[in-house]
Symmetry: C2
Subunit: 326 residues, 2 copies
């Protein structure tokens, strides 16, 4: 089970290995949002997303023999790179099951980080969890689930510890924390960290319209699924439903979810380019899009948006600049 003690222990193992990412801001963004917006730049994390934290926490928690046999993960790309890089640093073999239609950059990077990549057909309906489980059994690999693994949640929770420390240094104790949500690993880890270290801050899940399973699940009080598996540009966070482990944490601690359109996510990508000098992928920008373009969804004077990843194909980034910087 994910606990604050596990988060604190994971943060110790991450110390000196994961980056403490900066909390950025721009008067231009504050003006758009009509309030103070702080951006936690996890796109600057190793491998370009917060997923490195969870990958490191999980691999570093393994015993000697399990490390030697290796790990397996299924991922649309960011978890893949995070686990691959963490495994490489621990001299642990890594097999990554990725959808064949994931951004080429993510597939290439995962291979370049030393992992064995197994592609599957997401659109045709192949089940990545079944593929992962089968390979894990055959080769006695440890499966590192992208958001249900307690050590993964603990690693992601270190983002919450940093937010609590960085905002305290700025004299800010009350805020809503918008977090891009797939399965809810980051959101639930951060929620647990804030519960102890910044109790006046509340997680607000942010998702793409049509893939707002977390928002709808929170509203209904029970786990709800998305009608479709693909169809948003926010590839990093298109999971079918909240995790069985993460949802109870979010139900207890998070505020209502916010859904943004793909166009709003792309507009946030363009604003991050113009005003923050950050490369953020669409799925990593839905939190910023929520803060900028849905001001009525928030109540607090300060919104912290976690920019969760920056692994965007050049063509998609160029589209964001062409359409939304004019």
């Amino acid at each position: 089970m994910a606990t604050i003690e596990k988060i604190e222990a994971a943060a110790k193992r991450l110390h000196g290995n994961a980056r403490i990412t900066p909390l950025l801001s721009s008067p231009f963004l504050d003006e758009i949002a009509g309030r103070q917006v702080l951006i936690k730049a996890e796109c600057l994390q190793h491998t370009g997303s917060f997923k490195f934290r969870g990958g490191w926490a999980a691999v570093s928690s393994l015993g000697f023999h399990a490390r030697k046999r290796g790990v397996i993960a299924y991922s649309s790309g960011n978890h893949a790179q995070g686990v691959a890089a963490a495994a490489k640093a621990h001299n642990t073999p890594a097999v990554i099951v990725m959808p064949a239609d994931a951004p080429q950059l993510k597939i290439d990077n995962t291979r370049a980080l030393g992992a064995e990549v197994v592609l599957y057909d997401r659109i045709g309906g192949e089940d990545r969890e079944a593929i992962g489980a089968k390979l894990a059994e055959e080769r006695r690999l440890t499966l590192i689930e992208p958001y249900e693994h307690p050590e993964v949640i603990a690693g992601q929770g270190s983002v919450g510890l940093e937010i609590a420390q960085q905002t305290a240094a700025l004299g800010i104790t009350k805020a809503e924390v918008a977090i891009c949500c797939g399965g809810g690993g980051l959101a639930s880890g951060v929620a647990l960290a804030l519960e102890k270290y910044a109790p006046n801050m509340r997680v607000r899940p942010a998702e793409p319209v049509g893939f707002d399973d977390v928002a709808r699940s929170l509203a209904a009080g029970k786990i709800m699924s998305n009608p479709a598996a693909t169809g948003s540009i926010c590839d990093a966070i298109l999971t079918p439903e909240p995790g069985a482990t993460t949802f109870p944490i979010l139900k207890r601690l998070a505020g209502a979810g916010v859904a943004v359109t793909d166009a709003e996510a792309m507009r946030a990508v363009a604003q991050a380019f113009l005003r923050l000098k950050l490369v953020v992928e669409p799925g990593g920008a839905v939190s910023l899009a929520a803060a900028l373009f849905h001001p009525d969804a928030f109540e607090s004077d300060t919104v912290i948006a976690v920019a969760t990843g920056g692994n965007i194909d050049p063509a998609t980034f160029q589209t964001a600049l062409s359409e939304f910087t004019g």
Copy 2:
């Protein structure tokens, strides 16, 4: 005169106002360079470049009456924004003299930061220093020269203090520090800081081919000018010659300069996008270009490249991605 004592004092005034920018890295970039490359991400500084430091140091050093009358600066854009933002925070009026052909984004941002912008014709040969001096006299404004002002050099030198602290935390004491060079304010300030706090690190100026006045001046032992005033995409660092104040510091402390082509600068912009998730402008990427594409110009196991700014027009960024990420 710029001194280490002025740098230390400026760093105190900057504390809590300028950002401590992260020192980033990527195994992919290390592989290209054939050595460890660390990137000091000053593009993440307020206003998108290190110039905010010098602007803040200069404005905060003024007395009550001088602050009230206001300041003036001439700049192709980054110094303009740095001074404008610093002046605004001190409730000081700011007049900025900018070339009419500067990137529109820089002109727009300078105005949005509350400054009065006066445009001049750089290509037609109007003399920005004469324009600046005349306006300063008429309105009794304090001129903040972009690289000759001792407080500006002191503010930029705070980058060197951070590099010394951040590398010490990583156990690195020996390195070459590649710095994008216009008039040499940043390079000379950093050189002074490293002389005291990291004496085994040496500044290596990086410039565009055809505008390598600092490199040629260092080689000749006296100030040499560039044959042309425009003609490189690296607009931020096209100054006619090293400063009379900065050159003696560089002559005493810096190693040889490195010149890179515009194509290499654009290729470094693309690599910063792909591998660091940073938006860097061409003039801010010549240091990274030197580290990546001129490995024979360096000797040390570690090269630190200061990515000095990120204020790039979307169209130029798109060109870098189209041509150099394929």
